[in-house]
Amino acid sequence: MRYPHIFSSGRINTLATKNRIKYAATETNFNTPDGFVTEREVAYMEAQARGGAAIVTTQGAYPDALGEGKGFRGTMSIAHDRFIPGLARIAEVIKRNGALAALQILHCGREGGVDLDYCLMPTVVPQRLSYFKPPREITTAEIKQAVKDHAAAARRAIDAGFDMIELSGIVGYLISTFISRYTNKRQDEYGGETVEERCRLMKEILGAIKAETGDTFPVGIRLCGAELLDDRGGNTLEESIESFRIAEKAGADYVSVTVGWHESSSSVITRDVPMGRWLWVAERVKKAVTVPVMMAFRLFLPEIPEKAIADGVMDFWEACRPMIADPDLPNKAAREKISTVVPCIACNLCFSRLYYHQPIMCTVRPSLGREGDEAWGHYGFARAREKKRIGVVGGGPAGLQIAAVAAERGHDVTLWERQAVFGGSILLASRVDDGEEELLRPIAYLEERCREAGVTLVPATTCTPDLLQGMNLGVLVLAEGSLFGPCVGSGHLTPDEIIGEKKRPGKSVLIAGGDGVGLAVVVYLLRTGDHHIILIEESGRLGRDVSPFYLWRYLQMFKQRGVEVVTRATLEGWDDGKASVASAKGERSFEVDDVVIASRLAQPSAREAFASSAAEVFLIGDAKRPRRLHNAIHEAYRLGMRV
């Protein structure tokens, strides 16, 4: 067995666990604005339970009637008995599928009050994140009420049939703001110079919950092991580790170790952070407590938590994003079929949508949030009524995705790719920055899925209308990606020449196009050489298609390295070392060694060229309109569902 430690049984208080995997809590925004559980949420949680984790945790439910603790518009509530029937449905589907059901209670504190015009903090400390409501200091009476609310929530969780309760005190949520010296400057009994004093609210909540549940009912807590707030006067590492010891003393039956706050000014969960980077924090906590220690945070591949458990660094592997991407991850790990895991790429599309009041989506798993709808094929597709011969031109993410889905529905699918390897534009993206090779995982996974479904994969072959003659195709899908353009003058370079063919531009370079591709070229050039770079962008904004989780770091790098950014500007000409640029401030001229065209164009003319090659011809992905990875994958998946 490849993962003997992950698949050994564990124990939390009186409960035995079938393995060491816990699906960690995540908000979904699937529930109603008044806090009731929806069908969509139940179906999602059922998928998580069927995936084989020993413990499945609900999203954090807010415990207060006013919604001061509510962080997201579609969060479920546990503030009244009327919510128990909906919560009971979640407990039931988890337990019916052989997992332990854990309910998380989450008061979002300064990240709460989503429907209100304020949020609560121990002390009003200014902050810059635009998502937060204006803070108000929580009164002593309100603190006492919050403790009561948590205890009442615990009682409802038991009534709803849950096996365990989890408290969340991380990233800036209520409990964490009391523990941190950054946000707790109170003079009353809930503040203080020592972490023991600042943990008073946590201790009172744990105590009140334990009084409600009894000693043998497992109650765990998520806390921050390293706030990464040194620049703002946050807790020292020793104080953070001490908070876990205090939680154990106050009755916690397990602890989950997290890292960073939402305003930490360093990367925590993005691809530039190597997998396993934060295990040292879990190890510090493990040395401080005797109860089981868990961790999520960039432990995407099972060999990493396997080794961590074997080495005594932690006891349980918590999977959040990896199981959003593939709820079946535990089962696939147990069967040692890792190549069939839908791989999370840490793009954080899921989380970032929450802050815009939208339900979570997953770049690599379009069926997220549609698990209960058979047409979306989460548990496998029904066969198409009529079997068709389908051709796919282009083996990037869109082409591979539609080929896989169409073949799984019973169609006879052939895919042609011009290059010797599959991946399309992802091949370039995977070479831009540290950790970006992880972007190749979905390509490898889709290739494997195509092979399993019986797709005929034809690499290193340019597909032409001539090649398709006599094939009698019912459907042809054009997914050849975008072209770089529009071109101005001649002798310019393109991103595929620089990143793919490693052509070195001269010292000074003008890059036309400030979307993700243009930013990628800048990042690549800055990492691999010393250049003076001018980046011009037509609109007023750089990187509109780049995840905010990544964009801030790129922009910081540009500033440090002196990249000259000119917005509301277009390249008009490029001749004899002079690039003329029309901008809002008038015509400008830049003397540069090279110009890179990093803007992209769709390829609508391909549809005309192949118009008579099949009964139906579709254009998808970047070929239809250059966009992001999830657009390509989702568009392809949806077309695959209906051809």
Binding site: T32, H357, Q358, S539, R544, R627, H634
Partner: protein, 64 residues
């Protein structure tokens, strides 16, 4: 959910167009319109709109 633009309230400033990742917003007769074929329901436009002319409908009512 696809955001809804109140054409009366929209001032046509174009801020929403600039933040729209799939470029799904077009300006017509001085007010913004969403091309639903390309909208990916990210909500960036609604967050950006200074006059709150863009709202995101949210499913109403309890079903449990």
């Amino acid at each position: 959910m696809i955001p809804i633009i109140d054409g009366e309230a929209c001032t046509g400033c174009g801020k929403c167009m600039e933040v729209c990742p799939p470029r799904a917003i077009v300006m017509e007769d001085g007010s913004a319109r969403i091309d639903e074929e390309f909208c990916e329901e990210c909500g960036f436009c609604a967050a950006e709109c200074k006059v709150k002319a863009i709202v995101i409908p949210f499913p109403r009512g309890a079903d449990s």
